[in-house]
């Protein structure tokens, strides 16, 4: 079987599974899987850029995805009345003061000679800077958070079209990635893994606690959509007529129609990013990336600035994750910082890349769809399995109840088993790098 045949078969099989879900469960579920599968594929592409093509170990995918989500609120939400005048500018000034303190410290340390004087100055600047920062920030935050706290209490956004949030989410993630990469990739050997692990937790902590930013754990709901609302469709007579013509009731039809719209939007983004990734990797830049990966010493000897190349690809990969994060929040219609969990948003993406085939974009996309499908479907399958296993037990058996209640946790177990099986028996993944 030729390679193209095999790859087509693999993709065909995954989509057949999704179609089967549509037939056996419901088309709503199938489209949900498809949509999140598209988003997962984009995330996997981002991680694959970093790990597959440069060997960079990013375990902070969750952070960049969350930043993309934050971008949706900051871009598309309506500004909160009076928030900016009440304290918004104050917060901005405080943040600038904070950034200025850090920049100032770095500059002072560069200018001054090593010694006690430098250390004392450093500490003095940091302490004064921090006090100043808090002194400016706190009143601003209090003022903003006091505005209609039950529903708002945040700055709101720029009221731009929500589709704009996707590239902006990418930019936001890229900016943070640049900062991390600059610090973590600079030393003799990098410490990107621990740096990304930490920054992801910090991003989530900020999003959970800084209510003025995006309401923290109180969530922002009712975000703008790039597609029509179901209720509007149901009130449009032409849509209702057409739905009835297809033999669907308007409620189902509208929900399917909305999801299909999302699917088309996401698919367009996926195709664009996929094509760009492929082109980039076939370009001289991509060849150099792989040359660095396969023999860094030789590449360095040839005068390639390895650290800078790594920084570039790290920023790019993170930006892709940011875009995917923004898309996901748009699909959800709400930002819920409390739901970000590294197992789901970092390590699951890693499973997708490894299972699909690290170093192969097509593999990453396949992994994204396949693993997401399993992530969703293992739960009902697990429940079914548990019911089968426990069928012989008495209805009031404690063990039976426990097993059935625990079926939901089967998915983590399954993901681990899949990852280990692939790593062992097909270490290059389902679609290996050429």
């Amino acid at each position: 079987m030729s390679e193209t045949m095999k790859n087509t078969a693999l993709f065909g099989w995954v989509f057949a599974m999704i179609v089967l879900t549509g037939i056996m469960q419901s088309w709503n579920v199938a489209l949900l899987i498809l949509n999140m599968g598209l988003i997962s594929a984009i995330m996997a592409l981002g991680v694959n850029l970093q790990w597959g093509f440069a060997g960079l170990f990013n375990v902070g995918v969750m952070g960049f995805v969350a930043l993309g989500g934050l971008a949706v609120v900051l871009t598309s939400a309506a500004p909160v009345d009076g928030a900016w005048s009440a304290g918004g500018w104050r917060i901005v000034i405080a943040l600038l003061a904070g950034a200025g303190t850090i920049v100032g410290t770095v500059m002072v340390r560069q200018r001054m000679a090593t010694g006690r004087a430098r250390n004392i100055t450093t500490i003095a600047i940091l302490v004064v800077g921090f006090i100043l920062y808090r002194a400016i920030l706190d009143p601003g935050v209090n003022a903003v958070e006091a505005i209609n706290p039950a529903l708002q209490g945040n700055l709101g956004g720029l009221n731009l079209p929500v589709l704009m949030a996707w590239p902006i989410g990418g930019l936001l993630a890229a900016g943070v990635a640049w900062l991390i990469g600059k610090t973590a990739l600079g030393l003799r050997s990098d410490y990107l893994a621990i740096a990304t692990l930490g920054i992801a937790e910090i991003i989530i902590a900020v999003m959970k606690n800084e209510d003025w930013l995006a309401r923290g754990v109180k969530n922002v709901v009712g975000l703008d959509r790039p597609v029509p609302y179901e209720i509007d469709l149901q009130n449009t007579s032409s849509f209702v007529n057409r739905a009835e013509g297809l033999g669907l009731d308007p409620a189902t039809a509208s929900s399917l129609f909305v999801k299909l719209n999302y699917s088309i939007l996401f698919a367009v983004v996926l195709v664009i990013i996929f094509v760009m990734a492929q082109l980039a990797l076939k370009s001289p830049w991509g060849r150099m990336m792989r040359a660095i990966r396969d023999n860094e010493v030789a590449a360095e000897a040839m005068g390639k600035d390895v650290t800078n190349r790594h920084l570039q690809i790290f920023v790019l990969g993170s930006a892709v994750c940011g875009i995917a994060g923004a898309m996901m929040t748009t699909l959800d219609g709400q930002l819920t910082p409390g739901t970000y969990n590294p197992l789901r948003y970092t390590f699951l993406i890693w499973v997708m890349v490894i299972v699909g085939g690290s170093g192969n974009n097509l593999g990453a996309v396949l992994g994204g769809f396949l693993i997401w499908f399993l992530w969703v479907q293992v739960e009902p399958m697990g429940l079914w399995l548990m019911e089968l296993i426990t069928a012989g037990m008495a209805d009031d058996s404690g063990l039976r109840k426990h097993l059935i209640d625990s079926a939901a946790h089967m998915r983590l177990l399954t993901m681990g088993v899949i990852l280990l099986l692939v790593l062992r028996f097909s270490p290059r993944g389902l679609i290996p790098e050429k």
């Binding site: 790990w51 597959g52 440069a54 060997g55 960079l56 170990f57 050997s189 990098d190 410490y191 990107l192 893994a193 621990i194 660095i292 990966r293 396969d294 023999n295 860094e296 690290s358 170093g359 270490p427 290059r428 790098e433």
Partner: protein, 275 residues
């Protein structure tokens, strides 16, 4: 991208997740395709042909190296002649396509390096030959790890051979000077009470004075009756103390003879000893 996918780390050098230090690089050989028996000696690598990896190019070609009790045998030759490779072949770290290795009459060609240590071979690698984070005494103790009997006598003997080690017994070996480290390395190998001692360039990177002292020590070790097989860069000095010399060129035996004969040989002098 070729080769073992489990060994493909994609150039990752993130030391916060992957420990780059101290990992094993030794790959045991897998026996030989064609046994050979052309000569007799206490330790003999007989007509060895082979190279690194499963199908790497041959580095040794029909190369024979042997040493007998009481002797110092020295392998010399130009850079890239396969000197160290020859020694590794005798120690079982090379895939032989032809040839045998025999120790005291027993065929050990298919044994792993560890198993050869247990059989009585002591090996001092050229680099990374001590446990830098452990004290001198712990290094010696680890050398005696396979011994079940009391090794304190042997340790005293080693301290007798290398008195400086006794003074520094509680110092981490990594803090010693180059020459002292080599003494620790040789001492560690002696702790197993080997039947034969193999040294891979013991004087690499030490000053001439230290080199002379090391050679003196090696002669002393040899006087205790242990046969020594040694690879040396400093051909002249090495041949001066050698009972037997092997000059390798491109993995082949070019000249073989006693140290004196080789030193006297016009051709050897011209090509390898600078006149």
């Amino acid at each position: 991208m070729t080769g073992n996918p489990y060994q493909d780390d994609r150039g990752n050098k993130d030391a916060t997740i992957a420990n780059p230090k101290g990992g094993g690089k030794m790959t045991p050989a897998m026996g030989t395709g064609k046994e050979m028996n052309t000569t007799n000696a206490f330790l003999v690598g007989d007509s060895m042909t082979g190279g690194y990896g499963k199908d790497g190019p041959d580095i040794l070609h029909d190369c024979t190296i042997a040493v007998n009790p009481g002797e110092i045998a020295v392998i010399v030759g130009p850079n890239g002649a396969g000197k160290s490779t020859g020694m590794k072949a005798v120690f079982g770290m090379l895939n032989l396509r032809q040839g045998s290795v025999r120790l005291d009459g027993e065929d050990i060609t298919s044994l792993s390096p560890q198993a050869r240590v247990a059989k009585g071979m002591g090996f001092v690698p050229q680099t990374n030959n001590i446990f830098t984070s452990m004290t001198v005494e712990e290094n010696l103790e680890m050398g005696a790890f396979i011994r079940k009997d009391d090794f304190l006598d042997t340790m005293e003997q080693v301290y007798g051979l290398f008195p400086i080690l006794k003074d520094k017994r509680n110092q981490p070996a990594g803090e010693l000077s180059g020459g002292q480290r080599q003494q620790v390395a040789v001492g560690r190998a002696l702790m197993t009470q080997p039947k034969v001692l193999m040294l891979d360039e013991p004087t690499a990177g030490v000053s001439p004075i230290v080199m002379d002292e090391l050679f003196d020590r090696i002669i002393e070790v040899s006087r205790t009756g242990i046969p020594i097989l040694m690879v040396e860069q400093n051909a002249r000095q090495a041949l001066e103390i050698a009972d037997k010399g092997y000059v390798l060129v491109q993995g082949r035996n070019a000249f073989t003879g006693t140290g004196k004969d080789l030193l006297a040989d016009e051709e050897v002098r011209k090509s390898f000893l600078g006149g």
